[in-house]
Amino acid sequence: MTAHVQPLTERLNRVFGVHPKDAQVTKSYLLVAFAALLVGGLCGLLQGLNRAGLLELPSWFDYYQVLTTHGFTLVVIFSGFFMIGYFYSALSHTLGGLLPRVRKMAWTGFGLGTLGSLMVVVMVLLKEASVMYTFYPPMRAHPVFYFGLVLIVLGIWTCCFGAFIQVADWRKRHKGQHLPILAFFATGAFILTLGATAFVAVEVIVLILPWSLGWVDTINVMLARTLFWAFGHTAVNIWYLTAVSAWYAVVPRVIGGTLWNDTLTRVVVVALMIMNITGGFHHQIVDPGITNPIKYMHVFMSLAIGFPSLMTAYALFAVMERAGRRKGGKGVFGWLKKLPWGDVRFVSPFVAMLAFAPAGAGGIAQTTYQLDSVVHNTMWIPGHFHLTLGMSTAMTFFGLSYWLIPHLSGRVLTPAINRLGLIQTAIWTAAMIVMGFAMHTAGLLGMPRRTEFATYGDFAASLGWDPYLPLLGIGAVLLLIGVVIQVYAVVHLAFFAPKGVTEFPVAEKEPGDVSGYWTERWGVWVSLMIIVVAMAYVVPIVDMIANAPPGSPPYRTW
């Protein structure tokens, strides 16, 4: 009986576009991502409890080691590995399977990225690299920490070029056709990734490594910091673009709808790709060493990203309304009732979309020239990215995992796990609202980020921070419960759920929705991206090099 069923399942899997060897690639990336989520979540719990004043951390695993591990595992490993795994499965699914050499590149990238991540995390745990995930010189970590970063970047580049080879091959074999929408998103995201990591690669390889090894005495601190933010700002937007791809192309299918508008979707991808790297200086608005007009230009470029995001906001809700009305939803809000509120594959990304409204608004506020001074480096900032990354991105990734993992493992999402997913979504949402509210408010009251529990004598009490501290602890406890449920669901869906076939949901176009071929002119888009990046960076970087003050020697202050 089983012998008879098995080949049928395999055939169905082929029809639904699962290539077993490619599935193994993505499954491996996702498992590392969720392992990182578990480690990062545990660190988050320790931090939350410390900040709430309930837990004093031991000297062999102090607050700053915990914080560096938390930031690195979640911002770099969880998001990066998920993004690569998800887009590689999208490429495999929509472009007819990975080419053997591309699959080999994906494995090479996996090896480099995993080894590099381990080197980084081990150095932090050994107290040789308490430098935060921003690792600003002239604090110097152990050279192995930086070699780890280099391996991660090389791994990412291998995956970028693998994706480009795959896409170029498909285009050669399908002249005049549009790239399938998810492959289009993947191409844009990998181009952006390559552009962003180029900056951090120069920072680490050219500036930091020779200095950390003692080959040169001093480092150009400002240049290193600037190169970091050209990458750091873009990195979070790459995770956002990954989430956006699911909002446009996956969620409509899950709710039984169609793609909003093929051309506009592609325009959003191109706009986010061209305009993203150039906003890095909004992290440096209150820095010296950058002239006011240059800062203003970067603020302008950062805010410009708001426009494609507002296009997205319209499109997402328009898709939901259209799908709801076609199912018979009447009146102004009747269509809302027709959406699948019992389906975690929809509910989790839906909350993620909603969260992007306050997250984006807060982002716009802190990016402005004058308001940044109010919140710069206060708890407001981690409050902001617990909404953007912790909700908008993470909850979309969670929502994807409920079908992507069973799709890859040849299993199905059971009603029980779906219910568990809904509970997880509720816990996570409540926790992030508590956390986000407490962090934003404490930040407005002046509480600094990246600082262990401190009373500053009797000052903290008089500044009104105290009521918000327990909320950070409560948020952290709830989030860890959310992490444990999520990781359990992932492991269950990967190894234990009943066998079966799960669809890779990609929304179809509306009849008559035809894009012009101009959207496929990647050469033009990349050239525009390079021009915009050059406008933003050539003048200040040349100034930072040509008029550099004497450099800084390395310091170890932890």
């Binding site: 001074s373 990246r450 500044l463």
Partner: protein, 153 residues
């Protein structure tokens, strides 16, 4: 494209532009710039470079003071500052080692102190009281203990 989408996008575009123009007007015609400055300094010779060889406060006008301050792990020098209410204080800050932050809670004085550069921040203190000065960029093991005060009499 649907009509409502055109309206939404036009409004979005107009909103972003209005926002930019307002910000630009405040900055370039009212002088509301963020903290900054283009002065450079040798970060290893801060103690020998005027004015940082003599950190402290000095009066530069009626109700106007200049505070020259050095930051190093994990100390502000001077740590305690006193000014009369209504004073405008021009802070000149530089770091002797790693990157530090400078924030006066209860005010909008907030900036990055980066070795090799001098950061300028101007703040007017209208209300009397004691203000907490703290380092808001992680600078090492004692980061949470790096603080000072501004007392407005």
């Amino acid at each position: 494209m649907h009509k409502s989408e055109k309206i939404w996008l036009t409004l979005s575009f107009g909103m972003m532009m209005l926002f930019m123009l307002t910000m630009g007007y405040h900055a370039f015609s009212q002088g509301m710039y963020p903290p900054g400055g283009m002065e450079r300094i040798d970060p290893q010779k801060v103690d020998e470079t005027p004015p940082f060889d003599r950190p402290g406060i000095r009066q530069v006008g009626e109700n106007e003071y200049e505070v020259v301050m050095t930051l190093e792990a994990f100390v502000f020098a001077p740590t305690e500052i006193e000014v009369p209410a209504g004073s405008t204080v021009h802070f000149k800050l530089t770091s002797k080692d790693v990157i530090h932050g400078f924030q006066i809670t209860g005010t909008n004085a907030n900036g990055m102190v980066i070795p090799g550069y001098v950061l300028n921040i101007t703040q007017t203190f209208d209300r009397s009281g004691k203000y907490l000065v703290l380092c808001n960029e992680y600078c090492g093991a004692g980061h949470a203990y790096m603080s000072g005060t501004v007392t407005v009499l």
